[in-house]
């Protein structure tokens, strides 16, 4: 496999979070009872006509601006014709030759450091319904999803590892979340990914024949499917076999890709301009108005953290990669001078407590800032700060000051009290003192630990260490 390299291009479908569908006014919430969000228009009943939801166009433009795309002044709408029971009109309204956004790029931290992958296009289209196999011989169709607005983001084949594919997707997801056009929930299908992958001998110029893996719905599956398909193609080439163009489906339980259809049976979608809809006209004023509504994007945030707040590059990268985290940080940091403390607490403790894909914290950011103030001002030490944070996490109503008071978490900074603690620890641990004096410097830790324990974890560790060192020298 070392002699081969993969080339990957991704097609990502993101469901736009407009309130209504793309061509009618049915609602789009996830999880409604089957066929409760349908009307004659999205069901394609005889005589009905689509009317384009301008919001969907606006959202697509936002996505385009967030990914450095050019925006078309005149975009076309086309019909993609094929038969399937989840497609009530027998065609999908999509964009073929003239998409809304084109020629963009995304930068991200991939396997080989900072990478840039170009986007061929972003276009809008309608989603299809969903087939439900209920275990009997019949198949049911739920049309709720039918007509929900999607954007399809098509990258150029410029990704060369499964790790970079994953990083690209993560970055794309963060960008879409940043501009607020999709909730990007892979488990609910509002973000789905198709992978195009080809393999060639290292150093070879020409790309190999590609296969397409359809409808992957988690980052892990994307990486797994790519790895799996890469080795399959490598093995075939190694055996001297020819790769044939195929459409594959990833089987999550076996971890393998299965063939859906081969090129011989490839459908001709008979695209042609949708006669029921006019071209989409977008002028510069529209684009500027939409651009003005775009909040600060991850890369800009990261730069700001480094430049303005003097955060470490690694910390800035972590904070900016998760918008919820970044927003939370910005709000908490705005009420305290101890901004790096906020960053450290969030990264070391907050992320662990939050768990999950996106950061989530119910503590008011102002209280979080207050907590960081208490630590930054040496009023509580780090172990108390952690303890307090954990308490507040499970009970967001708690006030940090009052809790520190009621649970006696205030740091002991008084030199006399610390001296007392130090002396009794020294007295009670003669062996450790002896060891230290013999040059075993680690023994100091154990003496400090005893004194700290006796303080109920509240002693100022810096001063305590100073005093102990002074006494046992």
């Amino acid at each position: 496999m070392k002699n081969y390299e993969m080339t990957v291009g991704l097609e990502v479908h993101a469901e736009l979070s407009t309130k209504t569908k793309i061509f009618c006014s049915c609602p789009t919430e996830f999880g409604a009872p089957p066929n409760s969000q349908i009307c004659p228009i999205c069901m394609g009943l005889p005589g009905t006509l689509p009317v384009l939801n301008r919001r969907a166009v606006e959202f697509a433009i936002k996505a385009g601006l967030a990914t450095n795309c050019k925006i078309a002044h005149r975009a076309g709408i086309d019909r993609k014709n094929y038969f399937y029971p989840d497609l009530p009109k027998g065609y999908q309204i999509s964009q073929y030759a003239r998409p809304i956004c084109y020629d963009g790029y995304i930068e991200f931290d991939g396997e080989s450091g900072r990478e840039r992958v170009e986007l061929e296009r972003i276009h809008i289209e309608e989603d299809a319904g969903k087939l439900i196999h209920d275990g009997t011989e019949r198949t049911l169709v739920d049309f709720n999803r039918c007509g929900r607005p999607l954007i399809e983001i098509v990258s150029r084949p410029q990704i060369y590892s499964s790790e970079s594919a994953r990083a690209y997707l993560k970055k794309l997801r963060t960008l879409l979340l940043a501009v607020g056009v999709s909730d990007c929930k892979m488990n609910e299908g509002s973000l789905r990914c198709d992978v195009n992958i080809s393999v060639r001998r290292a150093g070879e110029e020409k790309l190999g024949e590609r296969t397409e893996i359809k409808n992957l719905n988690s980052f892990a599956f994307v990486a797994k499917a790519i790895e799996n398909e890469f080795s399959r193609q490598c093995e075939m080439l190694e055996r001297g076999e020819r790769i044939v163009r195929q459409t594959l489906r990833f089987n999550a339980s076996s971890g393998k890709c299965e063939v859906m259809r081969s090129k011989e049976s490839a459908t001709d979608y008979r695209y042609f301009p949708e006669p029921d809809l006019a071209d989409i006209l977008i002028d510069d004023a529209d684009i500027e108005r939409i651009r003005d509504g775009i909040p600060m994007l991850p890369d800009q945030r990261r730069e700001r953290y480094i430049k303005d707040l003097a955060l470490a590059d690694a910390d800035a990268a972590i904070l900016s990669s998760d918008l919820a985290l970044s927003d939370y940080f910005d709000r908490a940091a705005s009420v305290t001078e101890h901004k790096r403390t906020v960053a450290n607490m969030l990264i070391s403790e907050g992320l662990r407590l939050s768990g999950g894909e996106d950061f989530f914290c119910q503590i008011a950011p102002e209280k979080f800032g207050m907590l960081c103030d208490m630590f930054g001002e040496d009023r509580i030490n780090s172990s108390s700060a952690k303890k307090l944070l954990a308490r507040m996490w499970s009970d967001p109503e708690l006030d940090p000051e009052a809790t520190a008071e009621s649970e006696s978490l205030w740091q002991i900074n008084d030199r006399d009290r610390l001296l007392g603690l130090a002396l009794s620890a020294i007295e009670q641990n003669p062996k450790a003192v002896e060891d230290y004096r013999r040059g075993k410097s680690f023994a100091l830790k154990s003496i400090i630990g005893k004194a700290m324990g006796a303080s109920g974890g509240r002693a100022n560790p810096k001063i305590l260490e100073e005093i102990i060192l002074e006494k046992i020298k």
């Binding site: 005589g47 014709n81 038969f83 027998g90 065609y91 169709v141 001709d268 695209y271 809809l277």
Partner: protein, 479 residues
């Protein structure tokens, strides 16, 4: 009382206002006549007796309270059965939709409902509006009331027959490539294909959306204008609909047409047209000159390409538009099928007739592979060229005039086994305005052996008023 059935809308309106008779009376008389005559003419597929009488009663009640809504309040009409009416069958004269009931109203139906008009029922047509003689209807052919051995035209043959046989006061049809104008000509009445976008298509079962328009079939030009005024409006449910400047319809009808420049098309004169139609055409030209109009000649060099262009574009769009009839959600579904594929194939094979299949197959073919570039895209280019030539013609002319068809109504079955070539000549005359979206009106011009011949006027977009003015004068002069 049956003589009142021949009255125009304005005559009915006056009589209703004077309480000479009520809308229930009028509706009842029409329903009676339908009951008597329809089994022979076969103009209606569905008669909505109860809902018609209910609407008529409501109209009479409004009038009794002094709340009558205008010229159309209480006037009975019919709608082609490819226009959706809530609660009524919407068959498109196809086995595919034999028992399909629409859950909503087309926008034009809502407009007419708002105006108080009374819907009598749904009229016969060629299956999915594809044809020229209403012979491909799953419900049997609609006959020409003037000679029942002959066709009433198509595809709005049921609507034209209903108006001509006094089975309604006016009717809605649809016109993709002449489907309102040609049957109107064959039945000796008025047929308007409005400017594309003037009447909402919401609720019209699409055949070829870039060409489809809802049209009006009526006894007089005045009736046509009245119905047009009530239905022409921008509809937010149809993205291709446009605001129609209805104020342009104000003023007396017909206005003076002296000085209007009316152009004959040189290439039309070179076509193989029946002697009778040729004479009718020159009679109309003479009449226009007498009315003070200036008759000139223009050239539309691509005229001969218009039929092939129309056929390619309409078939391509139809292949896509009719894909929704797959047996999954409604309509015809074949029994005892083993696979999804088989269900599709069998349901569509059984549900559609030959003409529809022929056009869908041709349409799907020319959107596929290399044919797309060679045929479909070529047709789009030709369409643009024809439009440019027409724009050129309208730089010197106010209206174009040409025959509606090459001859009078043909005998039923005459073209049964013929492929599309048989109708090419007729469609050629109608497709100019279809491809360009320009409004056109057909009016009876003369008769040969008691069979009418129609003349067609094409106007500038949104200038229906000019069409009405000239057509009204011409109708007067020719009778």
């Amino acid at each position: 009382m049956s003589d009142i059935l021949k009255r125009s809308i304005s005559e009915h309106a006056t009589a209703l206002a004077k309480k000479e008779y009520s809308s229930v009376d009028l509706t009842g008389v029409f329903l009676e006549r339908i009951e008597r005559e329809n089994s022979e003419i076969n103009a209606y597929i569905t008669v909505a007796r109860e809902s018609a009488l209910a609407s008529a009663r409501e109209s009479d009640e409004r009038r009794a309270c002094g709340e009558a809504r205008g010229a159309l309040d209480g006037i009975p009409y019919a709608a082609k059965d490819n226009i959706a009416v809530r609660g009524l069958r919407l068959s498109c004269a196809s086995r595919m939709l034999e028992n399909y009931v629409s859950p909503y109203d087309a926008s034009v139906i809502s407009s007419l409902r708002d105006a108080g008009a009374v819907l009598l029922g749904k009229t016969n047509l060629d299956e999915f509006a594809m044809g020229t003689g209403t012979e491909s209807s799953h419900f049997g052919r609609a006959k020409n009331p003037l000679d029942t051995d002959r066709v009433s035209g198509g595809s709005s043959g049921g609507s034209a027959a209903a108006v001509a046989a006094d089975l309604c006061s006016f009717a809605l049809g649809s016109d993709t490539g002449g489907s309102v104008r040609q049957p109107a000509a064959f039945c000796g009445i008025i047929g308007l294909r409005p400017t594309y976008s003037a009447l909402s298509r919401m609720g019209l079962v699409g055949f070829a959306p870039s060409l489809d328009t809802i049209g009006i079939i009526s006894r007089t030009v005045g009736d046509c204008a009245t119905v047009f005024r009530a239905t022409a409006k921008r509809d937010p449910l149809d993205s291709t609909s446009a605001h129609f400047p209805t104020e342009s319809l104000n003023g007396a009808l017909p206005a003076d047409i002296r000085g209007k420049r009316i152009a004959l098309i040189r290439e039309v004169m070179e076509l193989d047209i029946s002697e009778g139609q040729r004479i009718a055409h020159s009679r109309a030209a003479d009449a226009l000159r007498e009315l003070g109009a200036e008759v000139i000649e223009v050239s539309v060099p691509s005229l001969r390409a218009s039929y092939a262009t129309y056929y390619a574009i309409s078939s391509a769009e139809a292949s896509s538009n009719l894909a929704r009839f797959d047996g999954v959600r409604y309509g015809m579904r074949a029994d005892d099928t083993e696979s999804l594929e088989e269900m599709y194939v069998k349901s569509r094979s059984l549900g559609f007739g030959d003409e529809v299949k022929r056009r869908m197959m041709f349409g799907a073919l020319i959107l596929s592979g290399d044919y797309k570039k060679d045929i479909y895209e070529n047709a789009l280019r030709t369409r643009a060229r024809i439009n440019a030539e027409l724009a050129e013609a309208f730089s010197v002319a106010d209206l174009l005039m040409l025959p509606t068809s090459s001859g009078y109504a043909y005998r039923a079955g005459e073209f049964k086994d013929g492929l599309f070539d048989a109708h090419a000549k007729d469609d050629l005359l109608c497709t100019l305005s279809s491809l360009s979206g320009l409004p056109s009106i057909s009016l009876p011009c003369s008769t040969v052996r008691k069979l009418p011949l129609g003349i067609q006027l094409i106007g500038r977009a949104f200038e229906e008023k000019t069409l009405f003015d000239v057509a009204a004068h011409l109708q007067c002069a020719l009778n």
